[in-house]
């Protein structure tokens, strides 16, 4: 009985902690949440299927193997997306997209797909989908610590003509409405996501560019160090929450 009460108290504590940062799915309408959970209806899975086909296909002309040639079946990618962005051996911070691009140019001897290309989005979505439901757990120690600090700084930095920082919306006004939507904690666990506004799948950096535009700030290019650092900070903020990719967003 006492053990049970202790366990219950423990559960409450965990809920309270998780309650500080709510998962992006908690901000979706019930209809969209159902859609996100139903692969039969979720259009993002069209991209996942394309990505799985790319995973098995050898790059043309280079004579090198397909992704599956080294990594085996894509099921082996389970949990990978939960660990990204991560710092590579040469000290560069890489998210899943850039990791794939690097593998493609260095290991497969092929030309890069290009950030935000359909092929790269598909492959990223297919790999990220294998980590669906797994808790985000990025490394922020060692070489990643400095990148995390950069991300935290950027998150709290006022930017643009509207002179707003990320945190003013996504910390101080969470749950309030902005332009017909509810302000979330701004986490990237659902990306690459199918966004209804885009009628297609897009990366987190595309979403961040939309946010930069929203506060009339300078949009950083796809894969820029600023957005990578921010992505790492957001992943750290989402620690323990489930990967939702491919998500459904408005």
């Amino acid at each position: 009985m006492r053990a049970g009460a202790a366990l219950l108290a423990c559960c409450w504590a965990v809920t309270a902690l998780a309650g500080d940062v709510r998962a992006p799915r908690a901000f979706l309408s019930p209809e969209l949440r159902t859609l996100q959970d139903d692969p039969a209806r979720h259009p993002g899975w069209l991209w996942v299927e394309q990505g799985e086909a790319l995973w098995r296909a050898a790059p043309p002309d280079s004579g090198k193997q397909a992704c599956a040639g080294c990594h085996g079946d894509i099921t082996g990618m389970s949990g990978v997306a939960a660990r990204y962005p991560a710092v590579a051996a040469d000290g560069a911070l890489l998210n899943l997209e850039l990791r794939i691009e690097r593998c493609r140019t260095e290991q497969q001897g092929a030309s890069a797909y290009g950030y935000e290309s359909e092929a790269l989005l598909s492959l990223t979505a297919a790999i990220a989908a294998r980590s669906r439901g797994q808790p985000v757990n990025v490394r922020v120690d060692g070489p990643a610590a400095a990148k995390l600090a950069d991300g935290r700084l950027l998150y709290s930095l006022r930017q643009g003509q509207l002179n707003l920082s990320c945190q003013q919306c996504h910390e101080e006004n969470v749950g309030k409405r902005l332009r017909g939507d509810v302000i979330s904690h701004g986490l990237g666990t659902g990306y690459p996501a199918y966004r209804l506004e885009w009628n297609g799948v897009g990366s987190l950096h595309r979403r961040l560019r939309a946010c930069s535009l929203g506060v009339r700030a300078v949009q950083a290019p796809f894969g820029s160090p600023d957005y990578l650092a921010l992505e790492l900070f957001l992943a750290d903020k989402a620690r323990g929450l489930a990967v939702e990719a491919p998500g459904i967003r408005r």
């Binding site: 209806r41 259009p43 899975w45 009628n199």
Partner: protein, 107 residues
């Protein structure tokens, strides 16, 4: 007949007389016609019809409009009568027809 990026979700087998649900999701931009001052006019290019046949017989038909968003999702039901091929056809403006097929085993 070309292929289309599509996901068909339905049971692979059913008992005779059972009602089965078929869900079909296709990738298509559903471009509505553009014609306005300052814009380059382009013709409408949408999936204007969708058809499904079961063992050679038509069981479902739908007319789609330009008011339907990209990547149209269609869901319908049918009664499992005999083992056979369920064929799906998407008809696009301009005359292109995309098709897919799935087999239903009836026990």
């Amino acid at each position: 007949m070309t292929d289309i990026t599509a996901r068909v979700t339905m049971p692979t087998s059913a008992r005779k007389g059972e009602i089965i649900e078929i869900k079909v999701l296709a990738r298509h931009t559903m471009d509505r016609a553009v014609d306005a001052p300052g814009l380059k006019p382009s013709p409408r290019r949408i999936i204007h019809s969708f058809r499904a046949s079961y063992a050679g017989e038509e069981i479902f038909r739908m007319a789609l409009s330009s008011g339907i968003a990209s990547n149209p999702f269609i869901s319908f039901t049918t009664v499992a009568t005999e083992t056979g091929v369920i064929a799906f056809e998407w008809l696009e403006d301009g005359g292109a027809v995309y098709s897919r097929a799935a087999t239903l085993v009836v026990t």
